[in-house]
Symmetry: D2
Subunit: 355 residues, 4 copies
């Protein structure tokens, strides 16, 4: 018999929240148990019992009862009353920093989609300027946190109380590099270039000068050169040194999808077959990674799926390669990976509800 698992989502109003709601509402193991959607709701709306989910995200309306779901005023008591076991936080970094300790104290398992608990080194966390940096509580929570990339940390995730869901750019780059690095193929001294491009949903739902249609459309712009927050994740999860990586994100005029073009140099000349073997071995048990044979991934093939797609071309000299890695920043880069982590945490099929 199926176990009934109650989930909750805080931060459903954003783009990642909408995808998370969609995935959880249609997850085969969660049928009949919709998540509790909780958040800060103004008093007037709270009196009326909360906001309808379909008012915030009209596209979620369907004929399966979604129309009656509401965002409710958050309280720990609400979660306790509903018997919530797994809490998803699609909240700003600072909010995740302050809420997670309480959640763990109350025995909840947490999947945090923010950058709050992803980084083990204080030097890397510095970009976030967390107020509680270095505190005893924060240090203890960080020690419990598992980086939520099942392809790398499946076993730890299954036992974790706190899963720090990876960044979107970081996911696309780490999955492309880790197999080559573990196999000892790369000349890391030479350095790696990761030129990454993301759709606008990656910039969040807040209307700003940079998310205005007129700024993003018919345009391409680089940003965060040498300084993007995801750099620390990439370094920690691949073991690359800080001065060996140049990572440049760009804002693409498309709604969603990431393509990272990654430039590596091998220690010894490689054949395509050898590289293919390394990737296949590494991802043999990973249903959410698709390896491309001769073609290269494109955003159009990865978008609206939870797959990370990886392909590559070698130079004629066998010393240099270009690896192309694609994913949907809201799915494998955020909410899809969060559900994948949920599946691993609960011992379910890792791909369940994601195809």
């Amino acid at each position: 018999m199926k176990e009934r698992v109650q989930t909750a989502v805080v931060g459903v109003t954003g783009y990642a929240g909408a995808e998370l709601a969609r995935l959880l509402l249609h997850h085969p193991r969660l049928k009949g148990t919709p998540p509790v959607f909780a958040g800060r709701i103004d008093e007037k709306e709270a009196k009326r019992g909360g906001v309808f989910l379909t008012d915030v995200h009209p596209q979620l309306a369907d004929n399966n009862g979604s129309a009656s779901l509401r965002l409710e005023p958050f309280s720990w008591e609400l979660l306790a009353d509903r018997g919530v076991k797994v809490l998803f936080l699609a909240t700003p970094h600072e909010q995740s920093r302050s809420w997670v300790p309480d959640a763990l104290d109350r025995g909840l398992r947490v999947v945090d989609l923010s950058g709050a608990w992803r980084l083990t080194k204080a030097a890397h966390r510095a970009v976030y300027s967390f107020e509680d940096e270095g505190s005893q509580v924060a240090t203890a929570v960080q020690a419990k946190s598992v980086y939520g990339m099942p392809e790398l940390h499946r076993a730890e995730i299954s036992a974790a109380q706190l899963v720090a869901n990876p960044g979107c750019y970081a996911t696309s780059i780490i999955l492309a590099l880790r197999p080559l690095i573990e196999a000892g193929l790369l000349d890391l001294e030479h350095g790696i270039v990761a030129d990454a491009k993301s759709g606008v949903s990656g910039a969040g739902k807040a209307p700003t000068a940079k998310t205005h249609y007129m700024y993003a459309a018919d345009n391409l712009s680089a940003y965060g050169v040498f300084t993007h927050r995801h750099t620390g994740e990439i370094l920690e999860q691949t073991g690359i040194a800080g001065d060996q990586l140049v990572f440049t994100p760009h804002l693409l005029p498309i709604p969603r999808g990431i393509l990272s073009t990654i430039y590596v140099r091998f220690r010894e000349p490689q054949t395509r077959e050898n590289v293919a073997h390394v990737y296949k071995q590494f991802f043999a048990e990973s249903p959410m990674v698709r390896l491309y044979d001769t073609a290269l991934p494109q955003i159009q093939y990865s978008v609206r799926t939870n797959y990370a797609d990886i392909g590559y071309q070698l130079a004629a000299d066998g010393r240099r390669a270009v690896v192309v890695s694609c994913l949907d920043n809201l799915l494998k880069g955020a909410s899809g990976q969060a559900v994948q982590n949920l599946n691993v945490m609960l011992g379910w099929n890792e791909a369940e509800g994601l195809e």
Copy 2:
């Protein structure tokens, strides 16, 4: 010898302002006399002499000295000191309402791009809820105001002290209908449908939920059904009764351009030749209207030009027609028409600086 004409622009920071700046900076009659760009500038920037125009609009940087132009703190004295003769207001409606009386008092000629002074009937102005509605000053100013569509009011514009530059939707619809109405061809009792579609720049530069890339891209939405502010202009300039027109604007996922599809019924069956004759006669002296022979206008052909493009198809019965009218909402729909009005006001070639 050329007369030196000093212009000024208030409100250069928006999209229409950028186009206006570009047109005035490259206008052959204004070479060597760049506009005075004035506005509300915070104290810190004012101390430094104002903001550089190219900081606000990097695309305006060229090798003709544009890099040294600044936005200066507005004052009537500034305009007087510089010898400004024509003032362009690309400002919000309310601001135009309050500034224009002063400008006229000081002897400036004004081209106002807002909706402040376009409407002669109080009932139509009601949608703007002007604070000074009905005041003696406002009534006097309105009496002086000329609707700035040269194809309809060339003579009045040439003598006007205040030109109310038309709305973008209104321009595309009025130009398509007026020739047919004046020729007595239309069965107005039957009613007219104007289904109009505009690019996102029409929604302004302020970042809002509706100008967010994620809202506008890959989407189409109708808005302002039965209530859009440009309705009054269309009625006043065509003589159509309020219950004879249904005008529905839509937000297109493109940066700029308007296409209006207009459905009319003729009093008597018409031939294509007859309709063509009516249009050609009407626009015989109008260099900024292009009439299409057999093809229909498309946004791609009108955009980045100051032309209003008009084409049409008749039903086999000769009783019904679909008129398609295209223009660039920032040019013929705003700043291009403003410069066209300037040309008419100063007795220059109407198309100068616009091709």
Copy 3:
């Protein structure tokens, strides 16, 4: 116990074909019974056993065995050998005309996505110039054909051997008008305007001057004015006379989605409540139509769903209304509706596999 139903798809290589394949592969009643994909395959490929489905549509690759599916050389024997019961034709009009008689002879039930068998009146079929027009066979087949819009013809579809799947524009317009017409609300003498806008996938997969990115992007164009092929369907399914309807399609710069803005006049003044009641009654048993309360549908909410979304605004006089109807041209406008028809034909839940 579930009945095993074998389906086949001819014409999987197009956009509608890809969506049809995706829906059938994930349909809960068809698990473990993938469709037979058949078509014209060149000799060389045929010798190798056919083309892989994922070579044609890389986005269909997933971890459920899709990678092994192939397009096979079509023959009636192939369908017989595989025990095919329901045949989907996503083929050009002429091909459907010539294949359907054979398919019916062989006892197959057919869902034809082309325009071949949708029209009962010869005058309306004239736009297709069918070679077999008026032949005994064609007349007999047409007599068996049921227009595949479950919201209108559910009972006939459940018993039909041949279902003519509706056109995309026609679906959006018929669903919006039929309830109002049946309730006797509309002044049809006055005439109806249907201004419709569709994404580029509606123009098909063949690369042409009009499907070139440079033509479609940042553009909007009207086409087929007074002559579009879907006009006949709309007239036949609504009972509107030919001179009472003006239908103008436009090409939108988006991949998929249709929004139709429909202008009607009521015989008597109506209230919003009355109109809402009419729609609700009409669609009470129709799970794939979503009625909007106060907001209007937008393409972004309908796209990638099988819903037809309908909303409306009334003029203050209660005499005129604007109805906005949205759907995804590849789903409710093509392949989703085809699967909906399959569900009805087999007595399954109409919405199964579509949410």
Copy 4:
């Protein structure tokens, strides 16, 4: 008094041709002397005197007589009769290979926009598989050819009979690298990565699977990895060795514009000031290059201008830098640069007609 210069354009039907026509028609030194537009025209059209330019490019219609311009059947006699002095070829590579020798024989000066005569080394030309490779005529013509980048070869261009107009990607990358290389700043042994992204117009006007709106829109794809034809130009014009450069082009979902993100390593740590100085010195006399101070170029600022925009960020260690180079692929990357070359060839102001 102004010299009257008659130009001719072969290949006006493509995107580069349209821009070239627009620039030449509005060039201040060519007023009243429109180019001769010549090409292969079918017999029927030839009898009617040729095709109207505005039938091919409706956006070129204006009120300055463009409506009467025609494409005429090409012949050397036509060019001679009209007194053509400068011939622009916007033709396929092979056509330029076969026509240029004849043109030079007839004393014409030629600006060739194809890749036919850009490469001095046979090894680099191999990617084009020219039929006449190695012939005496081709060798002689190549010896006369000057690479048409005024910022590098101004003096040779002014005297050249044949100017080989550079490739779009090549222009954006060469202009960014050449100043740093000439100043001896770069560690070329380390290698250079040029990750470039171009709008769809770069793929040409022929409708293909890859220029279909449905392929390009909402997508990003890498192509030509390690094999793109522009590689040879970059190597020859910068002196970089073949195994020191990795150049990856990508297809952007925008109509026009190129952004190249270029990763370099310095031999010695550099300051921003030093790098700025090197660029400023190099481009001191180059009006069509804009150097960015602290911000980075974006496609939106370069598009529809003839500027090459260059900006850069240095790593904290001063050893690594990211250079961002933007231009409009149809202007500075093709027709704008062609007109710039015309200006240089005729001793006019290099920027004339380009601002």
